[in-house]
Symmetry: C2
């Protein structure tokens, strides 16, 4: 028997995305967001308020990076979500984070986080129900230490944190539970008659 909770943003886990862009003055604007997701094979949608300093910077330069927050840098990732770049001019300098300009897009790559997507602004998508910053993923950068032997990111090495929208917690990633398109293969074989 299920209980009614009313309207709840009941997606779990959510990622902790650290978004970074230069504004027109060349200052690094950065924020974190849990409300973002891959929306196509080469695209990411970020559901950001239009008045964030980072949103404005993305409009100005047409580029941004999206990093995955890891447990080691949880404090820095949380800080960029607490403090507004509209209110603290040297927000990035005070974050303890470091950045270098991407070689592909006009946006800063944050050094501390192990994985980052380099994006160009594809569209500010506005419909009657949606406001989304949509980026084209031009390239993804990853520290060698988080890669497996095939050169793919290994979540066990990544140590990314997840956001819990229910109680505003950060969670570590747990152990591997199964493999997609395999965990349900017995059911699938039966259904497909083979």
């Amino acid at each position: 028997m299920k209980k009614d909770l009313g309207t709840v943003q009941a997606v779990f886990p959510m990622p902790v995305l650290v978004i970074a862009a230069y504004d027109k003055a060349g200052t690094i604007q950065t924020m974190n967001a849990a409300w973002g997701q891959i929306c196509d094979t080469d695209k990411i949608a970020l559901f950001l308020d239009a008045d964030h300093a980072t949103t404005k910077a993305i409009r100005e330069t047409g580029a941004f990076t999206v990093a995955l927050a890891d447990r080691t840098h949880m404090a820095e990732a949380d800080y960029v979500g607490i403090v507004s770049g509209n209110q603290v001019a040297d927000k990035f300098a005070r974050s303890g984070l470091h950045a270098a300009k991407s070689s592909r897009v006009n946006a800063p790559v944050l050094e501390e986080f192990p994985v980052a997507m380099e994006c160009t602004l594809a569209e500010i998508a506005e419909t009657k129900t949606l406001f989304a910053v949509v980026g084209t993923i031009v390239n993804t950068l990853a520290e060698e230490r988080v890669l497996d032997e095939q050169g793919k990111v290994d979540p066990a090495k990544l140590d990314a944190i997840a956001f819990d929208q229910f109680r505003h917690g950060y969670y570590a990633s747990g152990e591997k539970a199964g493999q997609a398109w395999n965990a349900g293969s017995a059911l699938a074989k039966a259904a497909l008659g083979r």
Copy 2:
């Protein structure tokens, strides 16, 4: 020094969302999706292919539910992602899952999963870069056993799985790592001068 991986869908963790809707014949169509996210306080965006049987069903009835897959039902959640409702007419019947009609929206609530959002279709949003099924979250249902004393979903009790897009794994949720708006509060206080 970071390595170039090319265009990678580098968001982690992603949720394992199990979406369910009745089609116009009253048959339950269901699928899983990792590419979905909260896009506003009462909205969820699902990035689904237009030709999925579930997408067509949502168009037909204007309602759907979104459940969070838990570890206990990983096989069932995986199965609905392997088999297509366009090819297997009794896909749902063969899933081992059970459903009851929502009391609020014209969509099935899957009994096995501990948390589900009941949604009406707000919009099929199409822009030059996005195709999204956008739902209004009318209510969220949760099993009492996954709630804390305040009646909020506790991720430690939820046992939701996460999808790993890099290597197509499912991951269990790990331990709590920190609290949002607290983990970075020392940095924030310094930046805000208080």
